[in-house]
Symmetry: C2
Subunit: 290 residues, 2 copies
């Protein structure tokens, strides 16, 4: 499918893309680009990439696909570097968790957004990070959202979709704004709440005792609070407006719950919890059907 | 250890206690008490209990241990029934998730709280409920908190502790208030937040689409939103003051995060997320050491 793949940012997602692309014979050669030599060497030692460079212009030489897998806050700098050797024969794409910020960064670097860049977001991950955590089947059965803009070429859309499908993912297309709105709800807000809850408990005097009596529910609920703080502070900035809107709605709903508790309104609480349980069970059913 | 055990409320916890007690030869005979004949018959068919009754006064006849495993909102009625045939030779205990409410119910039913009732709370469970979900090793390696009051007899404390230890649990003792404060943080608040988040998403126009693109993080985060609404509305009422206090603190912390996002304060967000991640990782280490 591709001759030379260049992966910028060889961590959990970049490494998993490399492994999956190799497993399914989707490219001949994989070069990694990153800032830390040690990490790049580890990726070579683990057989994830073939070679590496710390310089983007060296890494992308001759590549027919370039995949940006770094935190979204770094994209503008990366685009500035890529622009110097932009190739019309190459497919450029990313895996960022926010998409409007990617379009904004492209706009600020290029006069016109290149038609061979296709914004994409695989809905897959783990609270573990680094190339050691990468796995070849991370995307199997998972959703990948692509958010082409008007001028993206049909060929770029098609090639990117086929590539993700070949790695086992289901690809859907939606608008940039719609993506950011949905992901704020299903991913960004839950991560922020998990960080927030754990931070709240940290500041309790009896922190170690509190944690001692935490059970499985707490463990699962806060799993995502072990996520990469660099990546998540970037996401908060990159999708600020959608996240703010939703977090305010969430605060408002909690105020309503506070009122129900204050009024000892058991029936009101029961109805709300019952309704939430039904929705959550619908979600499980949908996942099984996928 | 016991001759006849009476379990009031044969669901996930009651059923698991029956199975664990039988597995470790801790009692000769187990009678279940409940309101629904169908459920009690199922418990007999599954071999969880030996016999059953829908009447408390029948079920407790000759029992030397009575364990209350119903939602905490039902305790006062149950105590009123138990009082009619209270036996000084029997150990009475419960598994309720809140403890001050249990003491309050005891106080309102008895003139003086009986010295052979010992409030207890196993920190174990599942979002699944019903006797079908019960498992004999649910308490193995788990914490059980007992909250005796001043007049609880040493014998009751010792017998209850030995019984839980025999089922594989680690028993600690603390004050009623302290229990309710800790559990509000590690269990009650996370459950409320999970219900609240799922309810928020339910009310979005594109609910099914939203859920379609939810990934593993969302699934884990909201697992506890599948919990029993009856049990959890009871808990909110029973531990209202601690939950209100903490939920207000949580709201306050979210306001702070909202400010950081509004100011695009990446460093502030990074520090907070980094601190939360460290705490969460400490929690994992503590769990491994237990």
């Amino acid at each position: 499918m591709f001759n030379k793949m260049c992966i910028i940012g060889v961590g959990l997602i970049g490494g998993s893309i490399a492994k999956a692309s190799r497993q399914h014979n989707l490219c001949q050669q994989i070069v990694g680009v990153g800032r830390q030599l040690e990490n790049l060497q580890k990726a070579v030692d683990l057989g994830v990439i073939d070679t590496y460079s710390t310089k983007i212009n060296e890494g992308v030489k001759g590549a027919d696909i370039v995949v940006i897998c770094t935190p979204v806050g770094s994209f503008e700098k990366i685009f500035t570097e890529l622009k110097k050797n932009w190739s019309e024969d190459c497919l450029y794409t990313d895996v960022g968790s926010t998409k409007l910020s990617v379009i904004n960064s492209l706009e600020s670097v290029f006069n016109a957004i290149p038609s061979n860049f296709i914004p994409a977001h695989p809905i897959a991950g783990s609270e573990n990070n680094g190339v050691e955590a990468s796995v070849e089947n991370l995307f199997r059965g998972k959703q990948v959202i692509i958010t082409p803009i008007e001028k993206t070429t049909p060929k770029a859309i098609q090639t990117c979709s086929l590539w993700w499908q070949a790695m086992g993912a289901n690809v859907s297309e939606m608008s940039v704004m719609h993506h950011d709105e949905i992901l704020a709800a299903t991913s960004h807000l839950p991560h922020i709440l998990a960080f927030s809850l754990v931070e709240l408990l940290k500041n309790k005097q009896d922190k170690s005792e509190t944690l001692k009596y935490a059970a499985g529910g707490f463990k699962d609920f806060t799993r995502i609070a072990s996520s990469d703080p660099e990546m998540w502070s970037d996401i908060c900035i990159a999708n600020a407006s959608q996240i703010q809107k939703l977090l305010k709605e969430f605060q408002h709903q909690n105020e309503m719950i506070l009122n129900l508790i204050e009024n000892l309104d058991k029936q009101g609480l029961f109805s709300l919890f019952e309704s939430a349980r039904k929705t959550r069970n619908d979600f499980l059913k949908m996942q099984l059907e996928q």
